[in-house]
């Protein structure tokens, strides 16, 4: 049986206690997107600034459990300053790490699995610490919340959705 230490790795607790890129950005020029976890009521707000195909700035606000907050913090650290394409690749890789279990739970992420590339945990850097979450199926939605929200934000920017639309 999976122990708590599989879920709450030290790096996760560190990101939870000292979240990176916490705050807000002025909208516009930034793009604001909200995500909800209907199961527990957690909310995450992602502020995104994309210039010339690069995520130049990103901030996270909202509230949630240690898993959703640390995952959001790690996501912000790994995406900020990176090209949008790299960010999308990271989203796919991260969700692939979580997706096998989401499929078996009847989650709504099944479609993404098809296009997910084979990922080795080492490609994900410290994000691999969240791998233990898959042993606690109800918590997978916590870990993927900020990533789904980021994906939605990038899609909206690509589609030219203006803030407030």
């Amino acid at each position: 049986m999976a122990g708590l230490e599989d879920l709450y790795r030290e790096i996760i607790l560190d990101h939870y206690r000292s979240p990176r890129n916490r705050g807000e950005l002025e909208v516009p020029p930034a793009h604001r997107v909200e995500g909800f976890n209907p199961l527990c009521g957690d909310e995450v707000v992602v502020y995104l600034e994309v210039n010339d195909g690069v995520v130049t700035d990103l901030r996270i606000s909202g509230q949630g459990c240690s898993i959703s907050q640390s995952s959001a913090s790690m996501m912000s650290a790994s995406v900020k300053g990176r090209p949008v394409e790299k960010a999308r690749k990271l989203i796919r890789s991260f969700k692939a790490m979580m997706s096998i279990h989401e499929q078996s739970l009847g989650g709504d992420e099944a479609d993404d699995h098809e296009e997910a590339e084979t990922v080795k945990p080492e490609d994900l850097g410290e994000l691999a610490a969240l791998q233990g979450v898959v042993k606690f199926p109800v918590r997978i939605k916590c870990a993927t919340l900020s990533w789904n929200t980021l994906a939605q934000g990038l899609d909206e920017i690509a589609a030219g959705v203006q803030p407030g639309d």
Binding site: M1, G3, L4, L7, Y8, L13, L39, C40, G41, D42, E43, Q63, G64, C65, S66, I67, Q69, F136, R139, C142
Partner: protein, 418 residues
Amino acid sequence: MTSTVEAGSLDIATLRRQFPLLGQKSHGRRLVYLDSAASSQHPRAVLEAMDHYYETTHANVHRGVYAIAEEATRQFEAARQATGRFIKAPHPGTEIVFTKNATEALNLVAHSYGRHLLPEGKAILLTELEHHANLVPWLMLAAERGTELRYIPIGDDYRLELSDLDRLIDGVGLVGVSCMSNVLGTINDLGPIVAAAHSKGAVVVADGSQIVPHRRVDVRALGVDFLAFTGHKMLGPTGIGVLWGREELLDRMPPFLGGGEMIRDVRLDGFVPNDLPWKFEAGTPPIAEAVGLHAAIGFLEAVGMERITAHEVELTSRAIELLTERHGDDLRIFGPPADPTGRGGVLSFAFRDIHPHDLAQVLDAEGVCVRAGHHCAKPLMRRLGVTATARASFYLYNGEDDIAALSDALEVAAAFFG
């Protein structure tokens, strides 16, 4: 609801032995079940009654003329009678409608009464502490008919604030109110609300999901017009809920779901609905579940509702005392102070700044089952200024050892998250 609280105490050890699940271990520890407000566990008597029914009696009800079909029908209708007597329904045979759960019972009222008998232009009055089950059906109705929705607010004492009731009730045709909050444990005094509603000709729909399993409910004394509750929170199985309604109202209401059982005659150009209560029971009903619910009611009556209430009142008061004493400011309880008649055995709390989800996860590793989340009451969560709480809830099989286990597990969580 009676306020009689006797000093009768329950023999918890003997009681627990009758609940097979409670003898299990969880993560190698004694399973400490503190989530009966979500769903209660089952005594062997309930499980055996359902097994016995399936092994000896099962056939569809109200159809066959053969012996087991007649016996199945007899047992199903006997469950209806027992359920009616349990809440002192004046006419159990016609006023008790079996549904899938309390949610379906409330939807039945919203669809049938709300769409057809609630006068056009009349508002609906709800409260800020409703479960989504007594909120969303009315929101759906309002969206469809443009009905005005109003809300009785809760005060800082976690109780309904009735000072503005006279103004709120004016122009209202239906009031939806919970007998007891599944988050705060607050037991609402329905007296003034029922009186105000009836003085305006409005009907009162009460959500009794949290009260019926724990207190003696007498629908005549309660004065409401409809009462919804569910089997699985009162030691019974899932899949069966109950709607009690005044005969004269149910009689005027059109059917909710259509199908077999609910008709007297069907032609290609129309149908004649069946009599009460079958008019509201389309399709094959939850027969074994009704048998199980009957056994659950028998179990509760054998223990004694007054003794169960007394035990829970004492346990809730001890829990608040012990937890507050040991954890001090680390623990914030959302709900009124201990009060024999005004507070039930539901404790929602925040512990330090640990998110309820994380708290429940650590508690689980200690064998302690509590609920974490918004408890299907998001508007109330917003009112409390939180997104979620942790919640421990008590029933007849809980004892002080469960509170001690919860308290110890909280300390483990405190150490874990530093």
